[in-house]
């Protein structure tokens, strides 16, 4: 879309709190003038969260908003928020680091991140305010992405954006939330709780966790009342489908569970919700609604930034009115708001989730996946065969099994250490690949995708055998120092017969702790590139390199006694 979706240029109401906050009514809100109730709720939220002094100062909150807009690449919001984060006091750097991680890599936020912030002197109330402020930042950035307002004449252009260093996340959180333990106040009779009970039948834990700060809770519930619950434009099922699809794209188990539950009550079978989560194109909803999800998913906050591709014309072609298009953008903003809020407070699901998201969903089942390097994957030699299988030619899959079975078996044998289990697991890998080939998007090589499935399958085999062992439960990657420093023979391979050598290497590899073993298997036995191996293991490239090096050095220690040069020592 090249222009704003605005149809009414002048809002019918004055919105005094927005004018108080910005000095004028910004185009971001004018662009929503078809939804005055949403603007009312947004202004109340902005007033409550960002304008009023809380336990965080207004200046701290504006710095958070500016950082969120910068990391999201929203020039409009960065200009609107207008507060550089340069020259911040040292303590606030920790605050900004936390909020940046939440804004960019929400699902990776853990209790440890909250603890780090506490150690920097922030109490739980301050942390909750930081989380809600970050969520408001993402809401407004999503609105700007979808509505594309003109920069207001009243705003001063900002200088270059601050350079923000947001490291790639490494490990998926191992523990569930909640991350905050605010004392929950008794709000059984609060109007906000009454609204939530009416709508959901109970008070979801996301809101219960915030009950110690009722003004925040009230502002959030007002936003739900204005955006999620009415049926003036999009109907409730359509809205819940958008909320579900974006929550799934953001890998948010909690919100996906909540919206699936609502859809179930509204009459959409749970299997349909499952399909919307995994690939809405395969769901049984109407073609019009599939297009709605196609477009709104582009506004999801994870993983890449594809909001530039958001096309309102496609929605118009499908018969959506201007009001409905604006509503679709606002509901998308609400989805990112709720997902960020949940990731920050770590609310745990009120019902058993139908699907628990993990980082593999980002890589395997998304049409966009975590960028692992700037290099694009080379042409995939399997792409033609994969395309024919996807067209329904089952027999062609046989060639893919034949091409890759030895390599996949090798990976699994190195992982599970037992030939029979490796054979069974190899078959399982190919069956899973066949069943899911419709979801393979060709953004990585087929062989890399297959290897990801092999690692997950092999790890499952190990867990079944030794449920207590975890791939992550070994020592950290630092601090290992080689002990064997004697020179090796020039041709160590000649010192042993091939069968002895195989046995020696096999034993040494299988003795490695799992996380190093897998890294070495992928790099040195499977010959994957560093970037491919990192993608398969859902690690950052530096983390993968550290594990490979550690694994190689440990192997070297094991093999050294057999290969050191036998020299006579001086008497």
């Amino acid at each position: 879309m090249n222009e704003s979706a605005t149809i009414f240029n002048e809002p019918p109401r004055p919105y005094p709190q927005l004018i108080a906050a910005y000095g004028f009514l910004p185009n971001l809100f004018r662009a929503q003038s078809a939804m005055p109730e949403a603007i009312e709720a947004e202004q109340y939220l902005i007033h409550t969260v960002a304008v009023r002094e809380g336990t965080l100062s207004r200046s701290q909150k504006h710095a958070v908003l500016n950082a969120v807009a910068t990391v999201r690449g929203s020039e409009y919001c960065r200009t609107l928020f207008g507060h550089s984060i340069a020259n911040m006091p040292g303590r606030d750097v920790a605050l900004i680091d936390f909020c940046l991680k939440l804004a960019k890599h929400g699902p990776w936020v853990s209790e440890g991140d909250v603890q780090t912030l506490k150690h920097s002197g922030f109490d739980e109330r301050m942390i909750l305010e930081a989380i809600v402020t970050t969520s408001v930042g993402l809401l407004l950035c999503t609105l700007a992405d979808g509505l594309r307002p003109q920069l207001d004449a009243e705003l001063k252009l900002q200088g270059p954006a601050d350079l923000l260093d947001v490291p790639d996340p490494i490990d998926w959180p191992k523990t569930l939330g909640p991350h905050l333990g605010l004392l929950t106040h008794s709000t059984a009779d609060s109007p906000a709780y009454a609204v939530l009970r009416t709508q959901f039948g109970y008070v979801p834990s996301l809101y219960r966790l915030q009950s110690a700060v009722p003004e925040l809770l009230n502002a959030e519930v007002r936003l739900l009342e204005a955006v999620q619950f009415p049926e003036d434009g999009l109907n409730r099922v359509q809205k819940e489908c958008v909320l579900l699809a974006i929550s799934a794209a953001n890998l948010n188990t909690y919100c996906s569970t909540l919206h699936s539950q609502v859809l179930d009550i509204l009459g959409l079978p749970p299997e349909e919700s499952d399909r919307i989560m995994e690939d809405h194109q395969q769901s049984g909803i109407s073609a019009t609604d599939r297009t709605l999800l196609d477009e709104t998913r582009k506004l999801a906050s994870l993983p890449g930034r594809s909001s530039q591709l958001f096309e309102t014309d496609r929605l118009r072609t499908q018969g959506f009115t201007e009001r409905q298009i604006i509503e679709a953008v606002v509901v998308s903003g609400l989805a990112n708001f709720l997902n960020t809020l949940q990731a920050g407070v770590g609310a745990t699901a009120d019902f058993p989730p139908r699907k628990v998201f993990g980082p593999k969903d980002l890589y395997l089942f998304s049409d966009r996946f975590r960028p692992i390097s700037d290099t694009t994957f080379p042409e995939d030699p399997d792409s033609a065969l994969v395309a024919r299988v996807r067209e329904g030619n089952i027999d062609v899959f046989e060639e893919l099994v034949r091409r890759h079975s030895r390599r996949i078996f090798g990976t699994l044998a190195g992982l599970v250490g037992n030939i029979e289990d490796a054979r069974d697991a190899t078959q399982e890998v190919f069956l899973k690949a066949f069943e899911n080939i419709g979801r393979f998007q060709g953004r990585s090589k087929f062989s890399t995708w297959l290897t990801s499935i092999a690692i997950n399958t092999g790890t499952d085999f190990l867990r079944r055998r030794k449920p207590s062992e975890s791939i992550e439960e070994t020592q950290d990657d630092e601090g290992f120092r080689p002990r064997q420093v004697q020179k090796w023979a020039d041709d160590p391979e000649r010192l042993l017969a091939a069968s002895q050598m195989n046995e020696l290497v096999r034993d040494a590899v299988l003795r490695l702790p799992e996380k190093y073993r897998v890294a070495v298997l992928l790099r040195d036995i499977n010959q994957l590139s560093t970037e491919e191996a990192a993608a398969v293991l859902e690690l950052s490239v530096p983390a993968l390199k550290a594990r490979v090096l550690r694994g190689r050095l440990m192997l070297r220690e094991s093999l050294a006694p057999h290969f050191v040069r036998q020299e006579k020592t001086d008497a």
Partner: protein
């Protein structure tokens, strides 16, 4: 000049030929002077070569057909 600990931290990139030319020059400067790190580089390279070429987890070629047949028959069962 780099310490041995600095050198070891970059060993992976050095061996994989992924270090920048500047870094490589510093690493090689250290290596020229440090016999211990020379041994570690040499033996780590040999370790990788041994592991890569050992074929210790390789499926013998006669093992391929049974896997292919088992997979395809299960797929055909499911799709018919």
């Amino acid at each position: 000049m780099l310490s041995c600990a600095d050198f070891l931290a970059e060993l992976g990139d050095y061996i994989d030929d992924a270090a920048s030319s500047d870094l490589r020059a510093h690493l090689e400067e250290h290596l020229r002077e440090c016999k211990t790190c020379q041994v570690i580089v040499d033996s780590t390279r040999k370790t990788i070569e041994i592991v890569t070429e050992s074929g210790c987890f390789t499926l013998p070629s006669e093992g391929v057909d049974p896997i292919v047949n088992a997979v395809m028959s299960r797929i055909r069962e499911r799709t018919t």
